[in-house]
């Protein structure tokens, strides 16, 4: 813990050589901190497994996500899983997770859903961070009128509960996976802007920044070389935890019928389409639900680990 503390503490080091004397390898130090925590490692392993599944979805899944099996022996809509090892007749085709309401192989669709949830979640939060962090950085660093203008706007956006605002936005721009992602991204911007601003303001007032300014560093150099690199920790952590939330919210929009359509193998939409079959065919909800929960859990575990590794104050 103490070695970690040294990387973060901004001691009034010898002024001119401050950069050269910085302990090397902050990245490696952080990685080691993350890997020291069992839960974060579990999260990371699960995430890597999902990334693997997403990349090789075509090779891993036995069928195509749109293929329907109606008319084959034993195949009917919402058929229960058929696994030969567990006594399913040999003449029936094997479907590990059963068939969905349109006679499509659920296992294939759950596997392909990995692509959408991982990719869209990542993209959504990436864009939200880019916009939100820029706004927050400008507000925090420039201050004055810009600060007031940007942050009041963010305040107004924050007045709406996230999902409700996202629903309203999707109503305007139309329902699709991309638009759901866009709406969730827009809704997340104020949160990231606030975090970034708070972080920038704290860093701006630290001794090493003031010293750098006294040495004649330009405004731009101050922002990009001194303040920004030292203000990224909170946004990084919030971003990782935010991906979990984004995956969840996009699935929620799809569940409500405002995101992915019937053809797209998206977990939220799969659950939403079959929610009335919960009593007759619970497997249709169980498998996509488990996949969704596992993904979000993995992001949360990893995000928590990252936070603990980057913020030594939390170690006690």
């Amino acid at each position: 813990m103490n070695t970690l503390g040294a990387t973060d503490a901004q001691e009034p080091a010898p002024l001119v050589v401050a950069e050269a004397k910085r302990p090397p390898g902050k990245f490696r130090e952080t990685a080691r901190g993350v890997l020291r925590q069992r839960s974060a490692v579990i999260g990371l392993i699960v995430l890597l497994a999902f990334v693997f599944i997403a990349i090789f979805a075509d090779q891993l899944s036995p069928f195509r996500p749109g293929q329907d099996f109606l008319g084959e022996p034993g195949a009917k809509t919402r058929a229960a899983p058929c696994i030969h090892l567990l006594g399913c007749p040999e003449e029936f085709r094997e479907h590990l997770f059963g068939l969905d309401g349109n006679g499509r192989d659920l296992f294939t669709r759950v596997i392909h859903g990995t692509r959408i949830s991982l990719f869209i979640g990542f993209l959504t939060v990436g864009v939200a961070i880019l916009v939100g962090a820029t706004l927050g950085a400008v507000a925090g660093f420039v201050g004055g009128r810009w600060d007031t203008l940007i942050m009041r706007l963010m305040d107004v956006l924050l007045v709406f509960p996230a999902l409700i605002l996202a629903i309203a936005i999707v109503t305007v721009i139309g329902g699709s996976v991309q638009n759901a992602a866009l709406a969730i991204g827009l809704v997340a911007i104020p949160v990231f802007a606030r975090i970034m601003r708070a972080s920038i303001i704290t860093t701006r007032e630290q001794d090493f920044v003031i010293a750098s300014r006294a040495l004649g560093e330009t405004q731009r150099g101050l922002l990009f070389r001194r303040v920004l690199p030292n203000s990224l920790t909170p946004i990084l952590v919030a971003g990782t935890l935010g991906i979990g939330t984004a995956v969840l919210d996009i699935a929620a929009l799809s569940f409500l019928g405002l995101g992915a359509d019937l053809r797209t193998p998206e977990w939220g939409a799969m659950i939403g389409n079959e929610r009335n079959s919960v009593f007759a065919a619970p497997h249709l909800l169980l498998f996509p639900g488990l996949a969704l929960t596992l993904t979000i859990l993995a992001y949360n575990l990893f995000g928590d680990g990252l936070r603990d590794a980057l913020d030594p104050r939390l170690h006690r």
Binding site: P161, I164, L285
Partner: protein, 358 residues
């Protein structure tokens, strides 16, 4: 204290104005012609012209906004296209369901989350701590709609015909009814605002049943609320448990706690008199933040459990392109959310004098 509240209220006014403007804009940029949406595809140009004049849609946007604001001030939120009811009427019918549901979800979350957090902090690094925090991690990660469906399956199908069976949908069993306050108290002649208030409360079935001692109705309504409240309250519960633990751990390392221990105070007295009081601020913050999450979650919970609350009304309105309802309900939700945040800030000031004075 009063000064602080007034100052906070004054800050809220421009935000409400901005929210109203935003919601107004939202309805203007919605795709599709409101005339076609209201009168149907076969409406003629002349009918549409008449429709626009009637609803002021032929006026310039700034004038429309003023007209809209004027209507708002007189308590008119427009008339629902789909239900052919004033939106205010719909709010009186539907909002109480959501408030009732959110309230029980929050009670569940606080009532279980805070004690779990305390146990975890006191038995730090024990098996109990690891178990609670592991469960909290899972609790935060399960989507409301997945948990809701799982609960419905377990309690309505697997436990069917056992004493633990619980109804998976609706607010009351068939045949059971809760008489409204106006009926029970013989106040049916009332109208206007007092009647609206009375009906509003009447639509919270457990409250009404309790006030008028309709025990059968109370038990039935409460049984219908258990599963939705658990589904909705689980994520907040997990978050509250985590914050309670970390907040307590931080405080328990302080000198004054050690002093209290050293002078021989019993464990629970240290907790109650010293630790909890100083740890409560972050917990209250988090509870306040949960309200937004509860409202978002309520949309999903109501859909899963077939409760006609605010969330279900909004999603139905979207499906039916009922712009007026979307507008009215979004506004009400935003203002309600704003008021809750205000309440949280005021409770801070009450809990921590430093905030009040700064």
């Amino acid at each position: 204290m009063a000064q602080y509240i007034i100052r906070r209220l004054l800050i809220t006014i421009p935000i409400i104005a901005a929210v109203i403007f935003l919601v107004f804009l939202l309805a203007r940029v919605l795709p599709g012609d409101p005339c076609i949406a209201t009168l149907g595809e076969r409406a003629t140009a002349a009918q549409c012209q008449q429709f626009r004049i009637r609803f002021g849609l032929d006026q310039p946007i700034p004038v429309q906004f003023l007209l809209y604001a004027q209507d708002l001030l007189s308590g008119d939120l427009g008339t629902s296209i789909k239900f052919r009811l004033p939106v205010t009427e719909l709010i009186i019918q539907r909002l109480p369901t959501t408030i009732e549901l959110s309230f029980y979800a929050l009670v569940f979350a606080i009532g279980i989350g805070v004690p779990l957090g305390i146990i975890s902090a006191y038995r730090r690094n024990s098996a109990a701590d690891a178990g609670v925090m592991g469960l909290a991690n899972i609790g935060i990660s399960v989507p409301v709609f997945v948990l809701g469906l799982v609960l419905a399956y377990v309690f309505a199908i697997l436990l069917k015909d056992t004493p633990f069976a619980l109804p998976p949908s609706g607010r009351l069993s068939p045949g059971v009814r809760v008489d409204s306050l106006a009926e029970v108290w013989g106040l049916e002649h009332l109208d206007g605002l007092p009647r609206a208030g009375l009906d509003f409360v009447s639509n919270m079935y457990t409250v009404t049943a309790l006030l008028t001692l309709q025990w059968e109705g109370f038990i039935d309504a409460a049984r219908h609320l258990i599963l939705p409240a658990i589904a909705l309250g689980t994520i907040p519960l997990a978050i509250i448990a985590r914050i309670t633990r970390s907040s307590l751990l931080e405080v328990m390392g302080r000198d004054y706690v050690r002093t209290a221990r050293a002078k021989g105070l019993a464990d629970w007295a240290v907790l109650r008199k010293h630790a909890l009081r100083n740890a409560i601020l972050p917990i209250v913050t988090i509870i306040g933040l949960q309200v937004g999450l509860l409202l978002s979650g309520a949309v999903l919970t109501e859909t899963v459990f077939g409760l006609s609350g605010v969330g279900k009304t909004v999603t139905d309105a979207i499906a039916g392109r009922d712009y007026v309802v979307i507008q009215g309900f979004t506004l009400i939700i935003a203002i309600g959310f704003l008021m809750v945040n205000l309440l949280v800030d005021v409770s801070y000031a009450w809990l921590d004098p430093r905030i009040r004075l700064s």
